[in-house]
Amino acid sequence: MERPLTEHIPLDGSWLRLKDYERVGGYQGLREALKLTPKEVIDRVKDAGLRGRGGAGFATGLKWSLVPTVDQIPQPRYLIANGDEMEPGTFKDRLLLEGNPHQLIEGMIIASYAIQADYSYVFLRWGYQFAEKALQEAIHEAYQAGYLGKNILGSGFSHELSVHISAGRYICGEETALINALEGKRANPRTKPPFPVVSGFFGRPTVVNNIETLSNVPHILSKGVSWYKSLSKCEDGGTKLYGVSGKVKKPGLWELPLGTSFREILEEYAGGMLDGYQFRGALPGGGSTDFITAEHIDVAMDYNSVPKVGSRMGTGTVIVLDDKTCVVGMVLNLEHFFAQESCGWCTPCREGLPWTEKLLLAIEEGRGRMEDLKIFDDLTRYMAPGHTFCALAPGAMEPLQSALKHFREDFERHIHEHRCPWK
């Protein structure tokens, strides 16, 4: 089984230096890309079936193709690598950033070439300080080697890349809020349309891609579309970084074929539940996805299959709920996070999430009322997709609405017993 994204990451905690990266085929993808026209690069990525790994699963090649040509809107234009990984339970980009920064840089240069961006930025989570160090040094190496700067590898294409350290808000992971933050403004999301591909960073055409997404790009170019598609177990191409946290034997992160089944990830890679703990459910793709339960355990973890069991692929990093953990407490913890991370722009999110959190706290502390469950039903519908300005609140409602669906009796027990039965 091939693991192109992670196989060369040193196991000693260091990162893959330029010479080592080049030795294992690094920057061959870039050399290949520069032989093609930008449109041909985009077509390859389209054909490869690469879908955005940030959570929404939007087709990467399609996103790039939506950028107007230089004839339509002249430069400058920008590429931004979204390294603001703050989704609860998610730690996949961190590995790529800390272990193989050149892979990201190469992907960014190729993507920039494809959309003819003259500048790119890595928007990095403040807490990722090792990643920052690795990235800064890697960028320096890339400049020294002529992969960045003027006239890259004699192609005539020039590109500048730098790192921006985020002040640290969950909402900065939302691409338009990220752009506002990068411009030095409040990290509020922007309205769409216009999409960033048309009016993004400083009002210029901008593509925002996830770190993992961009890390896939060099391999598509260097090893080809059919190879890339063969990595996957589903119609979309490539591998995926899957993670598992919770009361499992071996919590961790693995690069596996896209479409690997949930059961396989849980039982074979995470080693199954810790002894004495029963599996009750899981958030398959980070904190803002719906619970799946034991009946869905065979679902294939890909962008088309997970929605069929009522959840989302999200970031592909699983949080497991066991029978000794209070689901109300777990959801309370999540909603506390989401309420705190609301940017305060739109009403449902700003007001609805703190109310949700306070209701959960009341229930958890034994002060809940049965009519609170009715309020939850109202609030989850109120904060449904499309009702709010961005996806934060609808995402925040996913664990709550699915917990109410699958574990309603736990909520009711809290209310009837006036306490948390798990304490």
Binding site: C346, P348, E351, A362
Partner: protein, 899 residues
């Protein structure tokens, strides 16, 4: 036009609009907060949810925000669907979570958009049972009271203050349900348009602090449509009274003048009406200098007697008095003996402006129209201080060219945040040439600071570069670079606008501006020319003709003038004190009609209590040449009456003496065909809706039977108003009166100022029945004005002296508003601003006290050393009482005071 289906009924609406605006224009009620007709859509509050259907087969649809949903032909939406209604109710429920529900003690109560929307949404009972978040409030200066707990986070305040008015000292802080709107630290809100937050805020976070000092419930106010008297723009306002004192000013929407906003001078300058310096009864000064109050009847008899006995009576009119008052004075003394009451220099300037407006063939746009120009040159005006609202409209105009980029990306104009993201901080071609830094410089693409003579040369040079036939002028290299930049930008524009005015008292500047506009017109551009004149009725007074004040003094010097009547005019603000003193020495009987005690009144033999704008009705002509009627707000209990009513008592013409305002206007227009348009400025006193007058008081008015019960238990008959179709009662027509007669905006369910939507033909467009006011001057296609050729040479002071020029201040430079306590808190300390080079030469430092000789008197000022002042120049604040009558420029020395 597009056809849209609202709850399955087809409607014709404007293409390219958003659904909220379209639905409101059709008269539908949809709840909203963050959308504002001038600030447009951002989709933050989620209150205007509707259901949008894919097509006629789609029965489910999806919730969308009406303000963010473009109008497209054949679109199907539902306002009434249960899903949309439930969403709107839930959204209010959420918004009200932290609201203090302090309506009974809230200043906003009864006029609160949040109350209206809450009722409209159907949210009644609270389910939230936890603690509310609370905030500390800030001190924001004398104008605004801050009560953050009431905030529903609609973001309108920052969108107005920061995005629209481009203020810098306000913002949104913190995140999630803790967001806070205010200043970084408590302190005076600096922006000159801050008062609009009172109306922009949908609830009681920002309320009028001046109203709070003498609070009354909004529904208990007696209101009248009137015109702001504090500069020449003539913004439309609503003034409100209770118990004989003026309580507040609100903006009165006029789609061609001020739109939705007014400046802080206009909003908070009204307190002079309630001043302790008001003259409330006729007064007489005996030869020993003793004053005594008089009964009106006796005063009239004595003055009439004096008039009969006098051989030669002159009248001195005023640019701050109405056309009617000036006209009656002129009728009383005769046209030959009527003097306009402004210095020869100023009179000449305004005459030049009028001459150019009438003969250049270049359009003078309305104030609101200035927003539509795509390249602007401001020549010699600090507009924020000389015509404040123009600064706000020019700020919007400066974005027109950058906005084209958004248009090219097919971003709708109402998609406010998206438009701003495209244009970022880009500045359109707005150029400012002024002697010193102006408050609008931050919006300009380039500024040039120089001696006003150089500015005039610069203007001539721009005209010459645009049209080689325009007279040429030698300019220095630095000036030439700016000239080229400006000329190229103006030539590249579709609608270039030139702004100039009288503030620097510099005729060549006015001519230079005209030359630029003429050159652009020759090029086939839709050029505009917008002159700022000194006062509310400067242009109207000039249209009435009459000689200037210098001529009056000369006449007096000649001898034989044994009586003078001074109408609403402090002559000491017009000419140097010793010349005015001489006038009083030479004229045995001077009758002054004015509202406030001033130096002129103190020298008079008789003073009659004239009404301010609040106690008078009349007509004024703004700088655009728009005649606008203002109406009396209330009948004072004392002897105050409109000046023209006092003057009626003295005219020999019995028909004129007995007629009402309409009668005066008919006589006036008969005498002045150019002013015929003022008949159309507003309906006459006979106007009725059916048989009904328009009530000044809302039908919710309370306490009428009780408010005077401590004096008289039987309810007095309400005062009559023979001069207008407005009544001093709550009875009468409830509905939409003609726009010039709208005393307040109200519509069922819409108790706040947002109800103005119901008075407009289309949202942010013309008022129903047309915007108030009548333009008296239109540019003629046949006009053949030739270029002015009076290029000045630069007149520099002799060595060791400085050339002193006026620096205007929104707070302080205007006579009446400077008498208002809240404004007085904002008036800067007297200063003299000099260049860094001159400071070094004169060996004075920042903050040092200096003396300056002014027409024989010595004034003390604090030195400001500024790098925006050109060498050889100095600026002192204009209009300060002690030196308001001086003529600029003058040369003088600064003498440091050594303690």
């Amino acid at each position: 036009m597009a056809t849209i289906y609202i709850d399955n009924v087809p409607y014709q609406v404007k293409d390219g609009d958003n659904m909220l605006s379209a639905c409101l224009a059709l008269g539908f009620n949809i709840t909203y907060f963050c959308w504002h007709p001038a600030l447009h859509s951002v989709g933050a509050c989620r209150q205007c949810a509707i259901v949008r259907y894919r097509d006629e087969n789609d029965t489910r649809g999806r919730i969308v925000m009406a303000c963010m949903e473009p109008v497209v032909d054949q679109a199907r939406i539902s306002i009434e669907s249960p899903e949309a209604k439930k969403f709107r109710t839930q959204n209010i429920e959420s918004l009200m979570i932290n609201h203090p529900h302090d309506c009974p003690v809230c200043d906003e109560g009864g006029e609160c958009h949040l109350q209206d929307m809450t009722v409209m949404s159907g949210h009644n009972y609270r389910r939230y049972r936890f603690k509310k978040r609370t905030h500390l409030n800030q001190y924001l200066g004398p104008f605004l009271h801050h009560e953050m707990n009431r905030c529903i986070q609609c973001y309108r305040c920052v969108r107005f203050y920061n995005d629209y008015a481009e203020g810098k000292d306000f913002g949104v802080f913190a995140v999630h349900d803790d967001v806070y709107f205010g200043r970084f630290t408590p302190g005076v809100l600096e922006n000159e348009f801050s008062g609009n937050l009172v109306e922009v805020c949908p609830t009681g976070v920002f309320t009028d602090k001046t109203l709070r000092k003498h609070y009354t419930r909004k529904w208990d106010l007696t209101n009248a449509p009137t015109i702001c008297h504090h500069c020449s723009l003539g913004c439309n306002i609503i003034a409100s009274e209770r118990y004989g004192s003026l309580r507040r000013i609100l903006n009165r929407y006029n789609g061609e003048v001020n739109g939705y906003f007014i400046c802080d001078r206009g909003r908070f300058g009204y307190e002079h009406v309630n001043s302790e310096r008001r003259i409330r009864h006729a007064l007489k000064q005996d030869p020993a200098g003793q004053w005594q109050g008089m009964k009106t009847k006796q005063a009239l008899a004595e003055i009439q007697q004096k008039l009969r006995a006098a051989r030669k009576v002159i009248g001195i009119g005023s640019p701050r008095a109405s056309l009617e008052s000036n006209f009656l004075l002129q009728q009383l003394v005769g046209a030959d003996h009527f003097y306009a009451g402004v210095s020869a220099k100023q009179a000449k300037l305004v005459q030049e402006v009028l001459h150019i407006m009438q003969n250049s063939g270049v359009r003078t746009p309305s104030l609101k129209e200035t927003e539509s120009y795509d390249a602007i040159l401001v020549l010699g005006e600090d507009v924020t201080h000389t015509a404040p609202m123009l600064a706000l409209t020019l700020r919007q105009a400066a974005k027109n060219q950058p906005k084209e980029k958004a248009k090219a990306l097919k971003i709708a104009e109402w998609n406010d945040a998206a438009v701003r993201e495209v244009i970022q901080g880009q500045k359109g071609p707005l150029f400012i040439a002024a002697p010193y830094a102006t408050r609008l410089d931050d919006a300009a693409r380039a500024c040039h600071r120089a001696h006003p003579d150089v500015l005039a040369q610069l203007g001539f040079a721009v005209a010459h570069q645009i049209d080689a036939h325009a007279p040429t002028v030698e300019t220095s290299g630095a000036v030439q670079a700016f000239v080229s930049q400006v000329a190229e930008a103006l030539q590249a524009a579709r609608k270039p606008l030139i702004v100039a005015g009288t503030s620097l008292m510099h005729e060549a500047l006015i001519h230079a501006a005209a030359n630029v506009a003429l050159a652009l017109k020759k090029l086939g551009k839709q050029s505009g020319l917008f002159y700022i004149v000194p006062e509310v009725n400067s242009l109207g007074l000039t249209m009435l003709g009459g000689q200037d004040l210098d001529a009056a003094l000369e006449e007096v010097e000649k001898g034989g003038v044994d009586m003078a009547i001074v109408l609403e005019n402090d002559l000491y603000r017009r000419l140097p004190a010793e010349r005015v003193d001489r006038f009083f020495q030479r004229v045995p009987t001077v009758v002054v009609l004015d509202a406030l005690a001033n130096r002129t009144g103190e020298k008079a033999q008789y003073v009659l209590p004239a009404g301010t704008f609040a106690e008078s009705s009349g007509t004024v002509v703004n700088n655009e040449g728009r005649a606008q009627r203002f109406y009396q707000v209330f009948k004072p209990h004392d002897d105050i009456r409109s000046s023209w009513k006092w003057l009626q008592q003295f005219v020999n013409d019995s028909a004129l003496a007995q007629t009402n305002l309409d009668g005066v206007i008919i006589r006036l227009t008969a005498a002045y065909p150019d002013l015929k348009g003022i008949l159309e400025a507003a309906p006459g006193a006979d106007f009725r809706v059916g048989t009904q007058k328009i009530p000044r008081e809302p039908h919710r008015y309370s306490g009428r039977t009780a408010m005077l019960a401590h004096i008289q238990v039987s309810e007095p008959k309400p005062p009559e108003d023979p001069d207008s179709p407005l009544s001093f009662t709550m009875e009468g027509y409830v509905g939409t009166p003609p726009a010039p007669l709208t005393p307040f905006f109200w519509s069922p369910g819409w108790n706040s100022v947002q109800s103005v939507n119901k008075y407009q033909q289309e949202i942010a467009g013309m008022l129903k029945g047309g915007n108030p006011g009548k333009r008296l001057i239109e540019a003629s296609e046949q006009a053949t004005m030739s270029y002015f050729t009076d290029m000045p040479t630069v007149s520099m002071p002799p060595n060791g002296q400085l050339s002193i020029w006026p620096a205007y201040h929104i707070f302080g430079s205007e006579e009446l508003s400077a008498q208002s306590a809240p404004i007085q808190e904002r008036i800067p300390e007297p200063y003299v601003a000099i260049s860094t080079a001159d400071a070094a030469k004169l060996q004075v430092n920042e903050g040092m006290r200096v003396q300056m000789q002014l027409n024989g008197t010595t004034i003390e000022l604090t030195v400001q050393v500024r790098n925006d002042i050109p060498e050889g120049l100095a600026a002192i604040p204009a209009g300060w009482e002690a030196w308001a009558g001086i003529t600029y420029p003058f040369f003088t020395t600064l003498n440091p005071i050594h303690s």
